[in-house]
């Protein structure tokens, strides 16, 4: 499930670890009236052309991580970063339930992510929004995770 992280492809490797984890764990929720809502689209960017297509929802978006690096010891550096996960649905209830599932999935598998070097994962922020677009309502909930990634420095510089 986890992918090893290479320094040359650090952003996409960290992204893949979060994306694959969520794609496996966050699939559907049951809302009032025993309706099961299943995620239709997993992506890294909002699919612009599908915004008014009700059948494209729910959409789960794992954004590209933002990182910054600072020295830790003589031989090790630390990369601190954040990664935002968005869920767009047509019902507030399902958006809330999906958000809980997202947080639970990352919390549960912190150990697996730690094994590839992604550590100290915490919830840095969360947000929500609602927009009416013609006949459809779009509920957006997002959570930003902060994390640290430790790696050995290239020596000689």
């Amino acid at each position: 499930m986890t992918n090893t992280i290479s320094q040359a492809t650090i952003l996409s490797d960290i992204w893949k670890n979060f994306f694959n984890r969520l794609k496996t764990d966050v699939t559907s929720v049951t809302i009032t009236g025993s309706t099961t809502v299943t995620i239709q689209t997993y992506t890294s960017n909002f699919p612009d052309k599908a915004i008014d297509d009700k059948t494209a929802y729910p959409i789960l978006i794992v954004d590209t991580p933002k990182i910054s690096t600072s020295p830790l010891t003589a031989s090790k550096s630390i990369t601190e970063g954040t990664i935002m996960v968005d869920i767009y649905t047509n019902q507030r209830e399902s958006a809330e339930k999906f958000l809980s599932l997202i947080i639970d999935s990352i919390e549960t598998y912190k150990g697996d992510l730690s094994a590839v070097g992604i550590r100290d994962i915490e919830i840095a922020d969360n947000d929500n929004d609602m927009v009416e677009r013609g006949e459809i309502k779009i509920h957006n909930m997002s959570v930003t995770f902060s994390f640290k990634y430790y790696y050995s420095k290239t020596s000689g510089f």
Partner: protein, 152 residues
Amino acid sequence: MRLTISGIDKVNKYLINLPKNLDKNLSQTNQGFMSSVKKSARLRLARHKVTGELSASIKLLPTKTKGKTKQFRLVVDSPYALPVEEGYKGHWVSALTPTRNSAGTIGDVYNFSGFMWIKPSSGLHFLRNAIEKNLSTFSQKLDKSVGRAIKK
């Protein structure tokens, strides 16, 4: 006589690091706030299925600032931004009017010939509403961010 205060090294280190931590946390909060405004604005925009130009033109760019806390600006780089935000009077438009992008003419995009009446619009206020929505939580986010820097 030598006076030693135990723990002063940590206090010293804390005081040295505090401005750095504040800059870092406030920069992150600024970027997070502006990203949320961008996301909200794009969510509020009507999209044309062919172009989506206006929505794609919303970009977040860093500004040059004297301080170390990073600041950002939201750029909407499309000629349609102002009329869509603020509204326009009803008007006739010719099918031959260029779209000013790769989509060709207005007639090509909306599939008509001759002239089309464009209904007046009071403005979508996608930017204003996006800012208003996110401003309500910005002070809380700043509080949290400063708090985290102080606790480090």
